[in-house]
Amino acid sequence: MKKILLLLCVLLLMAPAALAQDMEHEPWTCPEGYEGQTLSIFNWSTYIAEDTVPNFEEACGVTVNYDIYESNEAMLARIRQGNPGYDIVVPSGGTVQRMAEEMLLIPLDMEMIPNVANLIPDLLGAAYDPENEYSLPYQWGTVGVGYRTEVFPDGITSWNQVWEHDGPVAWLDDRQTMLGIAHLFLGNDPNTTDADEINAARDYLLEKGGNVVTVAADDGQVLLERGDVDIAIEYNGDILQISWDCECDDYAYAIPEEGSNVWIDNLSIPVDAPNPELAMVFIDYILDAKVGADLTNYIWYASPNQASIESGFIDEEILNDPAIFPPAEQVATLFAIIDVGAEAEELINNAWDELLIFLGQ
């Protein structure tokens, strides 16, 4: 009793300060009736803030099991073999589509997730899950160009600067992204399955690839750091990494104005989840403005949460970094990659292999 009184006193003393801090935002509250239940989360490693899970456990009075994986394939392997008991998984875009086709995901009940209204509309309805039946965005990022600022003092704004650069360039070994960029120039759907269009994209890239010294498998940032290339087409997180490591302005990241690839990792509920209701509650919790902002402040990926961005909970430094948060008009130019099916995949693979051979890779 004494303890409770003491706690009350402390809370009362702290209340004015807390009120001043978030005047408009009411802390997320857990719906009743989940006390004592268990939620099992399967997420990428280092992809959650330190207090996200403990706060949820406290708010709902539940226990959370938290396991990590290192690739979509590893997660997929576990779920395919029969869901071992996970309620939440975090697949990337194409994987959402694959899992939905294989009936490995269960539909979300939006009535249980009112915070869905907080999401950036441009990030909803992506091609891999047009109705957001199975997935809601968790964090997102882009593919763009990392470049040496001494070579490009005025920055890069167009893919044409990449194609025409007189110096070494590294491309990203991500066939659908690279062909997708070419499709943008040719006025085609970036996820086209048409053989002629795919070959046209291949020829376009071949014509523009004269300055390519390597097609890097996700290590373009290292080549850039070593000075082997002036431009590397890469994921934004990788380019940011080398900028932080060197604590300098030698490298910058830009999304060319023509558009580029956006990747979105999503919250989904796998089939046979033991506690899908609590999973929906958790998704709603993640989509809360404050919770979403805390996530981004910790892991430095872009938040899909409009309310988090507008509420001012996200650190200015992160919010104002166009490499993390591209401006809205740029977001509209981004395309997501979908699973195109076995037939188109073979066309794309052949086109890409031919391209690599002609580029001398």
Binding site: T46, I48, E50, I68, E70, G85
Partner: protein, 297 residues
């Protein structure tokens, strides 16, 4: 004259070869130590690294160890450290239980093989080596499918849905550990002088007394080193654990593998170092046991 020259030449060659040979003999262990220990030394070194990155060493610190210690003592609870510690505890738990079960079963099999007469002894002899020789991934997948089939049957019969968890990991670890224990214990039994058991019988001990008073104490060092081997294998195992783990039961190797995509912090190096020291102590005890045993025999 000519003969002498040739001999001198041959002797010179011999001397060179002998020198090279002794230099080579000296170099071999140097290479061995280098290959065995250099990567591990780097792992240990980086557990004292001040920077979060494992790319360059920026300064000496004990903070990663103190982070772990603080979480263990409950003085602090950082979520990321907590899930790593959970994995570490899971590893120890799985290792201990799987070792206990497989040591009992393995010793029983070794006894049956050495003393018993039964049909299919030859076959069992061959099968015992199977988990040692087949690729781990094959065993992992077969176990995963086996558990799935069993769970489906249980669900069909009782309507109760079963999930993988500690029980499946432990069962899987027991399947491969049994062989190692049995092989080591059997080697001990084969070395044992059978006349000792006969003497006990002559002196009026029944088979039960003979086993507990004569046979078991004599093979105990073999059983213990088998158990320690099993424990080490359990702690190290990744592939089989990955395929049989359930929710919240990731062991340390599975947890560390999950980190690959993003960052492996020095905290992981620190806990790996702790685990390695633990394994080294166990192997040391195991070797000491075998050594003591060999000198007594």
């Amino acid at each position: 004259m000519r003969q002498g020259l040739i001999n001198e030449g041959a002797m010179g060659r011999n001397r060179v070869i002998r020198r090279l040979g002794s230099a080579g003999l000296w170099l071999n262990p140097v290479f061995a130590y280098f290959f065995l220990w250099a990567p591990i030394l780097i792992l240990v070194l980086f557990s004292f690294n001040e920077s979060r990155s494992v790319a360059s060493f920026t300064g000496f610190t004990l903070k990663w160890y103190s982070n772990i210690l603080n979480n263990v003592m409950g003085a602090e609870s950082a979520f990321s450290t907590e899930i790593m510690l959970n994995a570490f505890r899971n590893s120890l738990f799985v290792g201990t239980v799987a070792t206990a079960i497989s040591t009992v079963l393995g010793t029983m099999i070794a006894l049956a093989m050495a003393r018993g007469r039964f049909r299919g002894k030859r076959l069992l002899d061959g099968l015992l080596f199977l988990p040692v020789v087949i690729p781990e991934i094959t065993q992992a997948i077969s176990l995963a499918i086996f558990f799935k089939v069993v769970f489906d049957w249980v669900a069909l019969i009782s309507g109760e849905r079963m999930f993988p968890g500690f029980h499946t990991i432990i069962a899987a670890h027991v399947t491969f550990n049994i062989s190692y224990v049995a092989i080591v214990a059997r080697a001990r039994l084969a070395d044992m002088n059978p006349q000792l058991e006969e003497a006990a019988n002559d002196l009026g001990a029944n088979p039960w007394q003979t086993f507990w008073r004569v046979t078991f104490p004599l093979i105990l060092p073999g059983v213990i080193s088998g158990a320690l081997l099993a424990f080490t294998l359990s702690l190290d195992d990744f592939v089989i654990t990955f395929f049989t783990a359930g929710v919240g039961t990731s062991t340390l190797p599975v947890f560390v593998y999950g980190l690959l995509k993003l960052t492996v912090t020095p905290e992981v190096n620190a806990i790996s170092t702790i685990m390695m020291v633990l394994s080294t102590i166990l192997i040391g005890i195991s070797l000491a046991m075998q050594g003591r045993n060999a000198s007594r025999a």
